[in-house]
Subunit: 114 residues, 2 copies
């Protein structure tokens, strides 16, 4: 699959944008992310962070402390993807009333058609 | 769910952007869309068109011919959403090499770590 479509899929998946958003203020640790996103499971957060790291959207740093401390931080690439995600979300927010009106009209049309 | 997140989900679903893209040149009929998107089932195209109409992203016009002719056309709202989808896809295209490089490095790192 081409990366352009993969990028759309990533923005549409359940957690990638939420995790990137939580990382936008700066470096976060795993437990900080879990507390910030209570609905995400440990397994899903681990998989989401790994997929974002794999594509270069975040950096994972292991500090040689005892026990080792692991930090996650958005890369420049990650920040720029989050910006384009915000373009889409801002579109949604600024067109909410038009969409809600269209849904109402559609419901009326389809009820009359039955 | 808020419309901003719904909008991200819509861009990430399998067919909405592909159908809107096929409608970008102008009015299309159902069979024209099916021929343009051979991998989509009749049921899925019907559901996708209905969901796009419901949110005011396209208009469905039934012409009183025998048999009736049905046209689908993007609305201004649909065109503007397609534009923001293109912002994301263009992001993907313009960062393909960085993402592929990051994937390669990640694979090397995780192979050594095993």
């Amino acid at each position: 699959m081409c990366i352009a479509k993969e990028t759309l899929d990533r923005l549409g998946d359940k957690w990638s944008v939420a995790v990137m958003h939580e990382l936008s203020p700066g470096t976060r640790r795993f437990m900080e992310l879990r507390r910030a996103l209570p609905a995400i499971s440990k397994r899903m957060l681990t998989a989401t962070l790994r997929a974002l790291e794999e594509d270069g959207l975040l950096e994972r740093t292991v500090h040689p402390t005892v026990p080792p401390r692991v930090d996650y931080e958005l890369t420049q690439l990650g920040r720029s993807l989050l910006e384009s995600a915000w373009t889409v979300m801002n579109w949604g927010e600024s067109h909410t009333s038009e969409i809600e009106l269209a849904r109402q009209r559609f419901a009326e049309r389809t009820q009359h058609a039955v």
